[in-house]
């Protein structure tokens, strides 16, 4: 990390690099892509400075495979990409889910589908980050909305991934990734850094996928003398393929249980002017900044508007959203997609509040004016 206490002008992508290094990431494999290239660029300069490894891979499939392999040797690993690359990573993200290999995947959202709008912001990968890989799997997705938060969310992504042995997706949009803001990097000793639990039994006694109270088995590193089998097939507690219904059921349930039990620790959101709000704007990423501005401007007109901003996009913050729906008369959900997060809100809205969506897919950020215009529907 750079000099502490000295404010720096950093890009969101640069703050992600600093956050990754502070979290202990020492392996990065990736393939450059706008608008995430600065992360690979930064890692290629900084990884050698901390005795880490940077590999420019042949593509994003290889990148994802490489970080899983590196993590299996006990090294915290990350890759970074945007929509097209994120699509290629999906199969191996599933592999990381089923083998419970901690890793962090950064996806900076740009306009899609396909090559789409490489230099424009979008939020079209909200559902892909949840359901992009096949099979019934839990996943954690975080979405920062400022340069400073890029730093802390990256650390949190690593911490959650190590704690729950799950791939964590850090996603935000082009605006936040390329935006520069002031940030003061905190001293390393002030940060909480979590390491995966390693086995403390002799190698002969190690049962690699044995359940325990938290549902997260200790993980040995390749080369430590603990031999075990890693496979993308559903496996028994020893890591060997199984299709015995009782073993399969217990395994899939454990994958979900470990995340469900951690929800209070995993889920994080910001409440902005929400105390007395009668209308809530629910938004994330760069759009949340427009939402905050809109809420301030609306309050100048006497309209009690607040903002709820999920930082944890997945697992969906059902409890928090339900509470809001019960306490406001309307909710506006602005998104740079055709309505992805809003579907989840609608799913849990049992007629509590009116839900209004605001969607923009022209490659431009939703402005405070866009939101203020929408507010007229409820005022």
């Amino acid at each position: 990390m750079g000099n502490t206490n000295q404010p720096l002008l950093l890009q969101g992508n640069e703050a992600i690099v600093e956050g990754a290094i502070a979290a202990g990431c020492r392996f990065f494999a990736g393939y450059p892509i706008t608008p995430a290239t600065e992360i690979a660029e930064g890692m290629s300069v900084k990884m050698p400075m901390v005795d880490g490894t940077f590999v420019q891979m042949e593509d994003e499939i290889g990148s994802m495979g490489a970080i899983i392999g590196a993590s299996l040797t006990g090294v915290k690993s990350m890759t970074a990409t945007s929509g097209p690359g994120f699509s290629l990573m999906q199969e191996n993200i599933g592999f990381a889910c089923i083998t419970e290999v901690p890793c962090v995947v950064v996806n900076i959202m740009r306009g899609g589908p396909s090559t789409g709008l490489p230099t424009n912001p979008a939020q079209g990968d909200i559902m892909q980050s949840r359901w992009g890989t096949h099979g019934d799997h839990p996943i954690i997705v975080l979405c920062p909305h400022s340069v400073e938060e890029c730093f802390y969310a990256t650390i949190k992504a690593f911490n959650l991934s190590e704690r729950y042995r799950v791939p964590v997706i850090l996603t935000t949009d082009e605006v936040i990734a390329h935006m520069r803001e002031k940030i003061t990097l905190p001293p390393a000793e002030s940060l909480e850094i979590i390491e995966r639990v390693r086995p403390n039994v002799p190698p002969d006694w190690y049962i690699p996928y044995e359940d325990n109270s938290i549902g997260v088995p200790p993980m040995s590193a390749f080369g430590d003398g603990y031999r075990y089998h890693v496979t993308g097939l559903v496996h028994d507690v020893r890591g060997f393929p199984t299709s015995r219904p009782d073993e399969v059921d217990a395994f899939i349930h454990r994958l979900h249980r470990k995340i469900d039990k951690g929800l209070p620790y995993i889920q994080e959101g910001e409440y902005f002017l929400m105390d007395d709000a009668e209308v809530a704007i629910i938004s994330y990423g760069s759009v949340a900044r427009s939402a905050k501005q809109a809420a301030i401007l609306a309050r100048e007109k006497g309209q009690k508007v607040g903002v709820f901003r999920p930082i944890t996009i997945w697992p969906f913050m059902r409890g928090a959203v339900e509470e809001i729906l019960k306490n406001v008369r309307a909710v506006i959900i602005p998104e740079m997609n055709m309505g992805q997060y809003s579907r989840e809100v609608k799913r849990v809205d049992q007629g509590y509040a009116r839900i209004i969506t605001l969607n923009r897919v022209d490659g431009q950020v939703i402005t405070p004016d866009d939101i203020l215009r929408k507010l007229k529907e409820v005022y």
Partner: protein, 185 residues
């Protein structure tokens, strides 16, 4: 006070770099709140490019510039496209070697690119001349802060060249300001 700046032109003119420099000067050296964003096409050169800087004493939420206090146009197209985003009393600064039709007689017209070529022999410092003029005309940033920020972001071998470019910008900014003042009386 929220002050919104848009630096516009085409890709390759160094608009994003001077956006970063302005943000660093106002944010790091002058201690204000700043946000710098950029928007450009997929081309390496050519194509529309713009960089925006918000400078404020308060927290900056919305990071983009919508109602401009200052607009720099380094080509005709950007001038035509963005002039209407300028506030009523906003400042329009154009590279008069590339912008031949200005929408108002209140425009600060300085031939940045021609000055860079003729005075310094390097067209690529036109952006640094422009940022010098911006500092002089708008007073939004201290010249000492700007000089430090420029020297931090350019390669060491070009320090002298860039310092000269800055002072040409400041000088030309003064002259342009006098011209506009005469016109408005």
């Amino acid at each position: 006070m929220r002050y919104e700046v848009r630096l516009s032109g085409s890709g390759g003119q160094g608009l994003i770099l001077i956006g970063i420099i302005l943000a660093e000067a106002a944010g790091i050296y002058d201690g204000k709140n700043v946000v710098q964003t950029q928007s450009y096409g997929p081309e390496a050169r050519g194509g529309a490019s713009k960089s925006e800087v918000i400078i404020s004493d308060e927290t900056i939420y919305y990071p983009k510039a919508n109602r401009l206090d200052l607009l720099l146009c380094m080509n005709q197209k950007s001038c035509d496209e963005y002039y209407l985003d300028l506030k009523k009393d906003g400042l329009l600064i154009v590279d008069s070697s590339l912008v031949h039709q200005v929408p108002t007689n209140q425009a600060y017209q300085i031939p940045f690119t021609r000055l860079a070529k003729e005075e310094l022999g390097k067209a690529f410092v036109a952006n640094i001349i422009a940022i010098g003029a911006i500092a002089e005309i708008s007073k939004i940033v201290k010249v000492s802060s700007l000089t430090e920020a420029v020297l931090k972001r350019v390669p060491p071998w070009s320090a002298d060249l860039n310092k000269k470019a800055l002072s040409i910008g400041i000088e030309e900014g003064k002259k342009a300001a006098e011209r506009v003042k005469r016109l408005s009386v």
